[in-house]
Symmetry: C2
Subunit: 196 residues, 2 copies
């Protein structure tokens, strides 16, 4: 996309999408979580990256300096917390593919963890940002499972964009927070509790 | 304590306490969580330690080596997860003090986080191992709060051992897992749900 110099407009009139702002999708989810905590809506945190520490230097008691460490493979998803008494657990994904979201983007340990959370009565899902659509969808674990099972049974190794739009909860961009994903969580909780 | 050479006995006859095995209390809680996950009882994890990464070396794509990093102050507790549909969140403490557990052992960010979890309908608590008693107690957030309020109102800056024994849920050492804390969580959930 060619970026022409824009005439000055009032910001409220201009749509500033995830795409155009060059922010990472994860950063927007962190912003949403900060907003939810500050406004006492939910308590959701991103987990720190697991690190294997090998060598630490202690020049002073207060300032330990890690001199050698390695990244470890996480055994869970990146985000969890509590909302309206529900345990919520999810991972964040982006896809630049114009036709489908490849299932290989979701690691085995993430699927196993989401399955376990769902089994124990938690709210397990993915937040998927589709670059081609400039839209975010909440994909519940049970929905994801149907596509994983399809692959296991010899079917396609991806979820089509049309399937995500059909089965996911759409998350329209808002003002504050930009990705107000908790509304989609609400819709999912409503669907579950109505079934019971 | 003087360690005499012990005559050989069948292990099952001999009480091997947290104290005598020289294991850290946190390690025993990690063991319990592994047991709960393997037996599909609960899904609880310890969060990784937050690290500020400053410098990383990439000798190869697979083997990134962190060359400079620093410990960051966590903003939450160390453990959270799901049990029977409940969000559970806690921190693990030890006290070698023979008469009381000093409240300064619990950091401000931990208290704020537990308060928030409790407010959103989660199960928030501390697991406290008292070396002098060789016993572990589950101290619920509402109980902890009463002692924090007492301090704020000019009262003592600690919880006495007697108060912990009176108000905490005792966790007797078992065989597998050694610190079967989920039974105390059960008792707490039962107390809450009976109140409603």
């Amino acid at each position: 996309m060619i970026k022409y110099p824009m005439p000055k407009k009032r910001p409220s009139k201009q749509k500033v999408s995830v795409k155009n702002r060059g922010m990472t999708f994860e950063k927007l989810i962190d912003d949403a979580n900060n907003y939810y905590r500050e406004h006492d809506i939910a308590n959701v945190h991103k987990k720190p990256i697991p690190i294997q520490i090998v060598n630490v230097d202690y020049p002073s008691r207060q300032k330990a300096r890690i001199k050698e460490a390695y990244y470890r493979t996480p055994s869970t998803t990146d985000y969890n917390g509590i909302y309206k008494g529900h345990y919520i657990d999810f991972d964040v994904k982006e896809s630049r593919n114009k036709t489908s979201f490849p299932l290989k983007n979701i690691h085995g340990h993430q699927i196993n963890h989401l399955q376990s959370v769902h089994h124990h009565g938690g709210i397990a899902f993915l937040l998927v940002y589709l670059h081609s659509e400039d839209m975010t969808y909440l994909l519940t674990y049970p929905t994801l499972e149907t596509f994983i099972n399809r692959e296991h049974n010899g079917g396609r190794k991806s979820i089509t964009i049309e399937e995500i739009k059909e089965h996911g909860y759409p998350i329209k961009e808002a003002f504050l927070p930009r990705i107000d994903y908790i509304k989609a969580v609400d819709a999912y909780i409503k669907e579950i509790t109505q079934k019971v």
